[in-house]
């Protein structure tokens, strides 16, 4: 076999691969990420099929059950027991998944969309546009996230839409900074300079050359931001500044609010919604970590 033939064989041995295909293979072989997918799967399943899974109406009160004090624990009829008002905790948890998932998805999308546009503009245009956008982001970052979200809910009033906007806006500076720095790193890359030299238009340089290469850290951050958003929503609910009517639309965080005084007699009232939050958050964190390892070639094999 000549040298040329040997090299040809060697080249053939390397399977055709790309970043995304490699990343996918790494991801499905990562045990942590698989656990994450299972957790998130259960969470999403509960959210979508809530009306089929729930065993009781979320507002239905079973008063005789709480007549002898708060609160009877898990039983055959009420799998997770009943709360202070005699409502079925299991059904409220299932419907709560809906609220968390919905707010999480919408708020991360809001943060991502605005952050992406602002960050991309700042990073690509540069100059005065860059510094004015980033100074505003700095000011927003100077207010701690939850405080910022509380402030926005206070200004807009409580409600589902308002909480989504609040948590979403609190996420904007995070994404804007990330996208900007990742675009700055790409802007001077050889392939961008080459595209410019041959006269490719600005927007197609940005959309077909720079953004696709800058997107993987954004995907990782968006997954992790889902986890943070669920925690923030629960935090707002816990403080009692979340949804308009937590009785009608059960929310995990607000389920924890009133149980503070009943820890002695009914600790399960705190444990169950708390565990639901931890499992869904853990799921997104595990997927996010798995994605980061899969998408960052430097971390591979670590």
């Amino acid at each position: 076999m000549s040298v040329v033939e040997a090299e040809a064989v060697e080249v053939q041995l390397e399977a055709p691969s790309g970043l995304w295909r490699d990343a996918f293979h790494l991801l499905i072989r990562n045990p942590g990420a698989i656990v994450g997918f299972v957790f998130v799967g259960v969470f999403v399943f509960a959210a979508i099929f809530a009306p089929l899974i729930a065993t009781h109406d979320v507002t239905e009160q079973n008063l005789p059950l709480i007549a002898n004090g708060c609160c009877p624990g898990p039983s055959a009829d009420h799998w997770f027991g009943v709360d202070l008002l005699g409502r079925d905790v299991f059904s409220r948890i299932v419907y709560g998944a809906r609220v968390s998932l919905l707010i999480g998805l919408v708020s991360v999308s809001i943060g991502l969309a605005i952050g992406l546009v602002l960050g991309a503009t700042a990073g690509y245009v540069g100059g005065i546009v860059d510094s004015s956008i980033m100074r505003v982001m700095d000011v927003m970052l100077a207010v701690p996230g939850l405080l910022l979200a509380i402030g926005i809910v206070a200004a807009l009033g409580p409600g589902l839409k308002e909480v989504m906007i609040a948590v979403g806006l609190a996420n904007v500076p995070v994404f804007a900074r990330l996208v900007r720095s990742s675009i700055l790193a790409q802007r001077e890359a050889d392939f961008v300079v080459a595209a410019k030299a041959v006269g490719v238009k600005h927007h197609s340089i940005l959309f077909s050359h720079i953004l696709p290469n800058a997107i993987s850290p954004v995907i990782v951050t968006a997954t992790l931001a889902m986890a943070t958003a669920i925690i923030d929503v629960a935090g707002l609910g816990f403080l009692g500044i979340g949804l308009q009517d937590p009785d009608e639309t059960p929310e995990w965080g607000s389920m924890l609010t009133e149980v503070n005084e009943y820890l002695q007699t009914a600790p399960f009232l705190a444990l169950i919604p708390g565990t639901a939050i931890v499992i869904s958050v853990l799921g997104f964190n595990l997927i996010g970590d798995g994605l980061r390892e899969a998408l960052d070639p430097k971390l591979r094999g670590r």
């Binding site: 100077a142 701690p144 503070n260 939050i277 931890v278 853990l282």
Partner: protein, 334 residues
């Protein structure tokens, strides 16, 4: 070095101006007037008018903003609408409480996180490493307020080892000149009070410190893993230095550089977490105070309190940047 500090200080000015505008505009955007929320439903138009006049709420917006900037620059945040006390006085009482709590939380996170991360990296891939990764994953996934409730349930309600609410025993009538209870107790050599205050601080500090602990452990681990493959570490080993000295002088000292930045970044998280932790433990700090202020629409408290916290946050980050430049000469000249 001086140029670096001056440049960072100048960067503060636009941020502070922006912050003051943000907070001011936000306050005006809140629904319902303070007069309505304080005077309640049975108020009369005359009462509302008198009230608005007293607090200057009828003046044009730019007049109000200018008055606000002028007084804020003198650290005068006005009088709380709910309690009729000076906001500055309330901050003087409540900020030390949050400071003590945040400091205790950071102490817990740092002194547990760095050794844990270091050991995990040294035993890379072993059971300690896996346990630390798992623990830090749980740490960032558990909401602060849920952890706080769990700790309270186990150690206060069930076991009764530690108090569940407040900052000090309710029957204590000890004077607190600086409002830093620990400091006061040490100065006056009042060991019983010191013990009481520390016992009240343990559970909230662990709850608040859990996220920083998880993050510091992870960063230390990653950083040690990076550093221990550096050439200078290999050189140090090759010339026969005892492993313990290589660990301390070559690995740990360089690995700690990124950690100082991380600690600065945790301050914002700590302040967010403080609101929740203080609520669970009825701890009389800035967090629970601001939460009440939102419910009462206490404009001066919100205005002063949030501006003050953001100011502290910005200053701490400045100090972290400067200390980073001192520790790491490479930053200074870039």
């Amino acid at each position: 070095m001086l140029r670096f500090v001056v440049r960072r200080l100048l960067l503060l000015v636009p941020i502070l101006i922006g912050l003051s505008i943000l907070v001011f505009v936000w306050i005006r955007a809140l629904p319902g007037s303070p007069a309505d929320s304080l005077l309640g439903e049975r108020t009369t138009p005359e009462l509302v008018r008198e009230y608005n006049e007293r607090f200057g709420l009828d003046d044009p917006v730019y007049v109000q903003y200018w008055r606000y900037v002028k007084t804020t620059a003198q650290f005068d945040f006005g009088v709380s609408i709910a309690t009729h006390r000076y906001v500055t006085d309330e901050i003087r009482e409540r900020f030390p409480a949050t400071m003590e709590l945040a400091f205790a939380a950071m102490l817990f996170a740092t002194f547990l996180g760095i050794p844990l991360g270091f050991v995990a990296a040294k035993r890379y891939g072993g059971p300690v490493d896996h346990a630390s990764l798992f623990a830090s994953l749980i740490g960032v996934s558990i909401p602060v307020f849920f952890l706080a409730i769990l700790l309270k349930y186990v150690f206060a309600v069930r076991l009764g080892w530690l108090p569940s609410v407040g900052r000090i025993d309710v029957e204590s009538d000890v004077e607190h000149p600086t409002n830093f209870y620990i400091l006061d107790a040490i100065i006056t050599r009042d060991w019983a009070t010191l013990k009481d205050v520390i016992r009240h601080l343990i559970l909230p500090a662990i709850a608040l410190g859990s996220i920083p602990l998880a993050i510091i452990t992870r960063i230390t681990r990653a950083s040690v893993l990076d550093v221990q493959n550096e050439d200078y570490v290999r050189t140090a080993r090759a010339k026969g230095l005892p492993p313990r000295i290589v660990d301390r002088r070559h690995i740990l000292r360089n690995a700690l550089l990124p950690i100082s930045t991380i600690i600065g970044l945790q301050v914002g998280l700590l302040l967010s977490g403080a609101i929740l932790t203080e609520t669970v433990f009825a701890f009389p700090g800035m967090g629970s105070w601001l939460r009440d202020a939102i419910f009462n629409r206490d404009y001066p408290v919100l205005q002063g309190g949030i501006l003050f916290l953001a100011f502290v946050f910005v200053i701490v980050n400045l100090l972290v940047d400067i200390s980073y430049a001192i520790i790491n000469p490479r930053i200074r000249y870039s």
